[in-house]
Symmetry: C2
Subunit: 245 residues, 2 copies
DNA sequence: AGGTAAACTGACTGGTCAGTCATTAACTCG
DNA sequence: CGAGTTAATGACTGACCAGTCAGTTTACCT
């Protein structure tokens, strides 16, 4: 009765063929795998349309699944978003912690440089950029997710860096500085630059620099701020007026 | 015919009375003022709901105007958003430039401190925070607006700071450093911290610090990174291994 | 084979909301 | 005052889409 009764093997896989990851899961039973398939699809849709803009139909289509199936695994769109973010962040954390375990190195400066290589790689990955955009743009509607992000990503990363700073100070490599504040400064520099690097067209200064260039520039600047303050001891070369602190 | 024919003086100004700025413009002729009234209302609605979340009906209600009236002045919701952002940013730029003109001061450090007081105040104002959130979260859907933001806010601010840095280097106050890069570092530090300060609940370290505390902490750190590098000249006090650059 | 449960489907519903337009109010000027 | 013009209104339309559920398919058992 209906105009076109689309059967299972209908001959209209137009866009589907263009998209890389649309496997045909139809009627293939593998319920264990379903949530992750859906979350992966959701990641991409949320990535380029945001929470409000993403359509469940599109997520379903991308996952190779019917819309109803999504509701077998997630109570609603918001929960799907929540789990997608949480899942992505957890992957990110694990990357970061693996990084830490790999650096039982020598000097604090060296350790910082080593950590920042991996940390930067992580910040610059698509996966993180997408979450970052959502965190900044939409996550204030989800206070608990925001808190989760603050605790499990920001604070954890900061603790990691803070420990290295403290060690560097103790060894006399770095000046005396509150480790938490110092870690925050590094976060700020890298976070913001990772965002700007994703919008290179807009920022001529970054357009010609590679990711690695930017990271080095960042770290050189940062390490300068951490160097012990010799000015009091050293020869009075510069006659700069010293204002208050 | 209709159930409740809401006349002009109907007795249900429930929320209206609570809201501060809902004047009754109905039928009062002042077409010159209309666009700005609407943009102001739009600012508030976009602020707490984002582009997708804001409802034209609510904007109209807040502006004390009927929905149709909005369409007399703006072709659609997107254009309204566009103009709202552009208008807000222009106001921001004017604030920043007024700041620059006020500082014909002495040392570069002093000038930097002075500029950063006003710059920080501007970054921390609601008006900017809202735009910032949208820029980071939704503006990638509007490449031309993004470009406008990059050129007229980011680049302009950077040029301003860059000039001060260059002057400081010339005077021997600061070490030799690429002014543009140095300006970018300051932007990164302040931008990111301004965001974090708006989410204080999430960041224990900032929870107990006032805006001014944060600004000072930031600037002290930053100026440290700009100090001339005396280590080569000075007494070899610290036996830190010097790795590559 | 036949039966049953679990997995999955997609047409449908109901609510929401951007954008329209016929109508009305206010103002102007002859 | 009343004819004409401009400003403003808000009920309505049509599209869109989250979420539902009656029905279908598959897997797995006797």
């Amino acid at each position: 009765m209906l105009p076109v009764m689309t059967t299972v093997q209908d001959p209209t896989p137009l866009q589907e063929l263009a998209l890389p990851e649309v496997a045909d899961h139809r009627r293939r039973r593998d319920p264990e795998a379903r949530p992750q398939q859906i979350l992966d699809a959701a990641f991409h849709e949320f990535a380029d349309r945001g929470l409000a803009g993403a359509r469940l139909d599109d997520i379903a289509k991308r996952a190779g699944v019917a819309k109803g199936t999504i509701y077998l695994y997630f109570p609603n769109k918001e929960a799907l978003f929540r789990e997608m973010v949480r899942g992505t962040l957890i992957a990110a954390i694990e990357t970061a912690e693996q990084t830490r375990d790999e650096t039982a190195s020598d000097s604090a400066e060296m350790q910082l440089r080593q950590i920042s290589v991996n940390w930067w790689r992580f910040l610059r990955a698509d996966r993180f950029q997408v979450v970052q955009r959502m965190v900044l743009g939409e996550l204030h509607h989800f206070p608990d997710l925001m808190q989760f992000y603050a605790d499990e990503v920001v604070a954890r990363g900061r603790r990691l860096i803070g420990a290295v700073i403290a060690r560097g100070t103790a060894r006399g490599e770095f000046r005396v500085i509150e480790p938490d504040a110092a870690a925050r400064m590094l976060s700020a520099l890298t976070m913001m630059h990772s965002i700007w690097c994703s919008r290179r067209q807009c920022f001529p200064a970054l357009a010609n620099a590679s990711d690695d260039d930017v990271r080095n520039e960042l770290l050189d600047f940062y390490l300068h701020a951490l160097r012990p303050d010799h000015t009091v001891v050293s020869v009075g070369l510069s006659s700069v007026e010293r204002h208050d602190l």
